[in-house]
């Protein structure tokens, strides 16, 4: 169905963009259900004739794939899945909670003056690789390397600029007079924020949470350099399916990638359906 605004060139450009974005996803999804013989067949097999779940099984039962004569998976993905969920959820919760209070402080009280919001953002101005090595050294010294505490601390530090700035923009959108009206109605400053501001930005709060979760969930580099054996996450695990004996286990890797995508898709969907604007419409004179 073409609406008036969808002209043929627009549709063409959108189709090209869609193919560019979706083709890797399609390829990963297909690879995840290919038996080992089809992984890097030449010519390429687009859709497997005998789809299988063996790759998914192998993620959690490392020996499952041996019936195809392929071995070498040394580590089950269970720990990685647990590690990803644990680190992402805790780090997201902390980042959003701290970011929320920072946002209210900056937006309502001008805490830290004009410079603070920019200083917070400056953490994002370095390439992560530039600060990864110092962090390895610091964390080694204070015995936080290869620990979830250390990884979560880094995740919070890295995502805090985003949560602060995103939430600040949502708090800015709520007229401060609504909080002040609540104060005059009998609420304390703190309760006015809890009972008035936060309910009014809950759409933004949800979107920010999802966004920060996506960042944490897909983070690779810090997890790689700060983990040895105790800590493992899905992105790190994905890099471990390159073996000496059987080459890269593309199918197993793709299977884990498909699993990793599920929360991202849900979060992305959540963001777009919850990013409701106009929450405060009618509160103030237009």
């Amino acid at each position: 169905m073409l609406s008036k605004k969808l002209t043929i060139p627009t549709v063409l450009i959108m189709a090209v963009a869609l193919v560019m974005v979706m083709f890797p996803v399609f390829w990963i999804a297909m690879t995840a259900i290919k038996p080992p013989t089809d992984w890097n067949a030449s010519p390429a097999i687009w859709v497997p004739s005998e789809p299988t779940f063996i790759n998914f099984l192998t993620l959690f039962d490392t020996d499952a794939i041996r019936k195809y004569g392929v071995g070498g998976v040394s580590q089950s993905a269970t720990a990685a899945v647990f590690g990803s969920v644990f680190a992402s959820v805790i780090a997201t919760a902390l980042s959003v909670a701290i970011g929320l209070f920072s946002a209210i402080g900056i937006s309502r009280y001008g805490n830290g003056g004009k410079a603070t919001p920019l200083i917070i953002l400056s953490g994002r101005m370095f390439p992560p690789a530039a600060i990864a090595v110092p962090f390895v050294i610091i964390f080694s010294t204070i015995a936080m390397i290869d620990s979830y505490g250390g990884l979560i601390a880094i995740y919070v530090a890295v995502t805090l600029p985003f949560s602060t700035w995103m939430l600040k923009s949502f708090v800015d959108d709520v007229p401060r007079e609504i909080e002040e009206a609540a104060m005059l109605d009998g609420r304390s400053r703190l309760m006015a924020h809890f009972r008035v501001t936060i309910p009014l930005i809950r759409g933004g709060l949800f979107s920010t949470t999802m966004f920060i979760f996506i960042l944490n969930w897909s983070e690779f580099m810090f997890a790689l350099v700060l983990s040895y054996s105790n800590v493992n996450t899905i992105p790190v695990q994905l890099a471990k399916y390159v073996t000496a004996t059987a080459g890269t286990l593309y199918g197993v890797q793709a299977a884990l990638a498909v699993l990793a995508m599920v929360p991202l898709i849900l979060a992305g969907y959540g963001i777009q359906s919850h990013l409701a604007r106009g929450m405060t419409f009618g509160a103030v004179k237009q």
Binding site: A181, M183, L200, M279, T280, A283, V284, K285
Partner: protein, 374 residues
């Protein structure tokens, strides 16, 4: 003006504002404002936009802290009190209704916060809705209400409890002219009937004249004059106040006073007007240049050959009962407010004579400072 003003009728002061000053980013927003609000009175803070009206109200409510000065509520210094402890109701200039709550919940919120019983809340809200004629919109969200309905909901939220003081920040500004006049009459009646103390900020001098017991005239962060409305109009403290209060605007012309044997006269351009007694007294020391202020209603048309001032008609602006005439004299443009039926035979460009009617209402201002001399 740094002293506290006392007001004609002696009643205990609900509010005393003493020497209140506030700077925002180094720029003074309020500069030593003082006034007193008697209990059960309606005080209007009048002034152009950006002159510190909202700042004054916010300092009284405790939403901002003053750099210096004191706020006393019933004799108590509330400087360190949280807004919630001051027992003040405020209507914000943007109303600030809770957008996610219905009309009922908005009005009830001060009672809900005070944990009053459900039956009690319902009873009070229904009573309030009856007074404000908004019973039919209690179940609706603010976004589905008209401007006037939102205004009334905000009013209901402020009136539902009996606070020490009501602060109203341009509460009628978003309404159309008819509703504004209707609601301001209602506001005044509510205030008087319930014996409430109102402090209302507005840039609209007609609103101030219509409802105020006392007007605090703010100009550039200073309370330049605290007076009853008619006094503000008849005896404005300075040129700015004279211009701000009254439409069409007061006529200001350069003039000089020249004494002679029988009382002296005012020389305006080539015209000589006999000086009224109050000007004679003010200038008894001798010849002096000043700025003469004559309200448009104190001028009238006269015989072109014999009138005190000669002019040419530039514009006629009919306002219904009265019309505003703009005329050009040799020196300045003057505005006259005259009955419309007297203007019927006039045409633009014709020569006209101008006479003054009530010279006892003449105002004289110092040319440099703008202060009223007489």
């Amino acid at each position: 003006m740094n002293r506290t003003h006392s007001i004609g009728i002696k009643r205990p002061s609900a509010l005393v504002v003493e020497n209140l000053s506030k700077r925002f980013r180094g720029k003074p927003a309020l500069d030593g404002v003082s006034f007193e609000v008697p209990k059960a009175s309606l005080t209007v803070i009048l002034g152009p936009a950006g002159t510190g009206k909202t700042t004054t109200l916010r300092l009284i409510a405790g939403l901002d802290r003053p750099d210096s000065g004191r706020v006393l509520l019933f004799g108590e210094d509330v400087g360190r009190w949280e807004p919630k402890d001051r027992n003040i109701s405020m209507i914000f200039d943007n109303l600030a209704l809770y957008p996610n709550k219905t009309g009922f919940e908005n009005i009830a919120s001060p009672l809900i916060i005070r944990r009053e019983s459900k039956q009690e809340i319902e009873k009070k809200v229904e009573e309030m809705a009856g007074i404000l004629k908004i019973s039919h919109i209690l179940k609706r969200l603010p976004r589905t209400m008209s401007g006037g309905e939102r205004q009334r909901i905000a009013l209901g939220r402020a009136l539902i409890r009996s606070p020490n003081l009501f602060l109203l920040d341009e509460p009628l500004s978003s309404l159309d002219a008819k509703l504004r006049i209707e609601l301001r009459t209602e506001l005044k009646r509510l205030q008087r009937d319930l014996g409430y103390t109102f402090v209302l900020a507005t840039p609209d001098y007609t609103e101030a004249m219509a409802i105020a017991d006392t007007v605090v005239m703010l100009h550039q962060g200073r309370a330049v004059q605290v007076a009853e409305p008619q006094e503000l109009y008849d005896k404005p403290i300075d040129r700015e106040t004279a211009c701000f209060v009254g439409a069409p605007q007061i006529n200001l012309v350069d003039a000089s006073y020249e004494p002679n044997g029988n009382g002296g006269y005012i020389k305006v351009a080539e015209a000589r007007l006999p000086a009224p007694p109050h000007l004679q007294r003010a200038f008894s020391s001798g010849v002096r240049d000043f700025e003469l202020g004559i309200r448009p209603e104190h001028l009238r048309m006269g015989d072109p050959s014999r009138a005190q001032i000669r002019s040419r008609l530039v514009d006629i602006e009919p306002l219904g009962l009265k019309s505003v005439l703009t005329v050009q004299t040799s020196a300045v443009e003057l505005r006259l407010l005259v009955k419309s039926k007297e203007t019927r035979e006039f045409s633009i460009g014709q020569n006209m004579g101008i006479e003054t009617t009530d010279s006892s209402m003449f105002l004289a201002f110092d040319r440099t400072t703008g202060r009223r001399i007489a």
